[in-house]
Point group: C2
Chain length 137, copies 2
């Protein structure tokens, strides 16, 4: 007996999932949609110079972040080569973070998103409101 429709669908889905998981755009989308990465990126890019900031500075500037998430975000960005982590063995220990060229290039790409958002999100909001009004009426 030939494959059932369910089997064929499952196989198509598996192929598609495999395709998506290696798609560069999707991987990037997954990275920057993590709640804090763009905020860390922006914090470290506030100067044109490759600026370095300490862990506690970042925690203060990005006011809402928990220690867990800040550490986790910094670790993954370091792993991806978007920033460098420098430990200075003073007492107590000093740790600074700094964007790499790659990290800075990602920051400018993200600014493209920011531009669209600032130019068009109010329009989206308006559409959303009127759509909701029609539904309520």
């Amino acid at each position: 007996m030939a494959k059932t429709a369910a089997q064929r669908r499952a196989e198509a889905k598996a192929r598609y999932d495999a395709f998506l998981s290696v798609c560069p755009s999707r991987q990037l989308l997954h990275m920057i949609s993590s709640k804090w990465v763009t905020l860390v990126l922006c914090a470290l890019a506030t100067c044109d110079e490759p600026k370095e900031m300490r862990y506690s500075e970042l925690a203060r500037v990005i006011a809402g972040v928990s220690q867990k998430m800040l550490t986790q975000t910094l670790r993954s960005l370091e792993r991806d080569g978007l920033l460098t982590r420098t430990v200075t063995p003073t007492v107590p220990v000093t740790v600074t973070y700094q964007l790499t060229p790659l990290g800075r290039s990602l920051h400018v790409a993200v600014r493209g998103i920011k531009s669209w958002a600032e130019a068009h999100m109010d329009e989206v909001q308006a559409n959303r409101s009127s759509a909701d009004d029609n539904k309520g009426a």
Copy 2:
């Protein structure tokens, strides 16, 4: 008695959360990080012309999507004014979707992300691999 440190932290966090929730960039980031929106956007933008596609076409082109998620994604994009939904009362009913100018402009913004991904994600992957190697060694 003055506020405790915990109280002050909670208030700072509340202010920060409020700020984030109205930030246009963050709202947009939240929109496009939804798993299927960019795929629907790209599917409907594959032609330069404002192309219209039927529900079943979309379901086929975006092979991995479930009915629930496709419908949910289309509804939210319609609500935000990024696409239009047209019902033609044939039997059985025909429904077509088409990007609005706003939707097309978002698509070009998203292509900026795509460009960065295609240009730099292999570098990110390489960094990731070497970082993992060092950890394993």
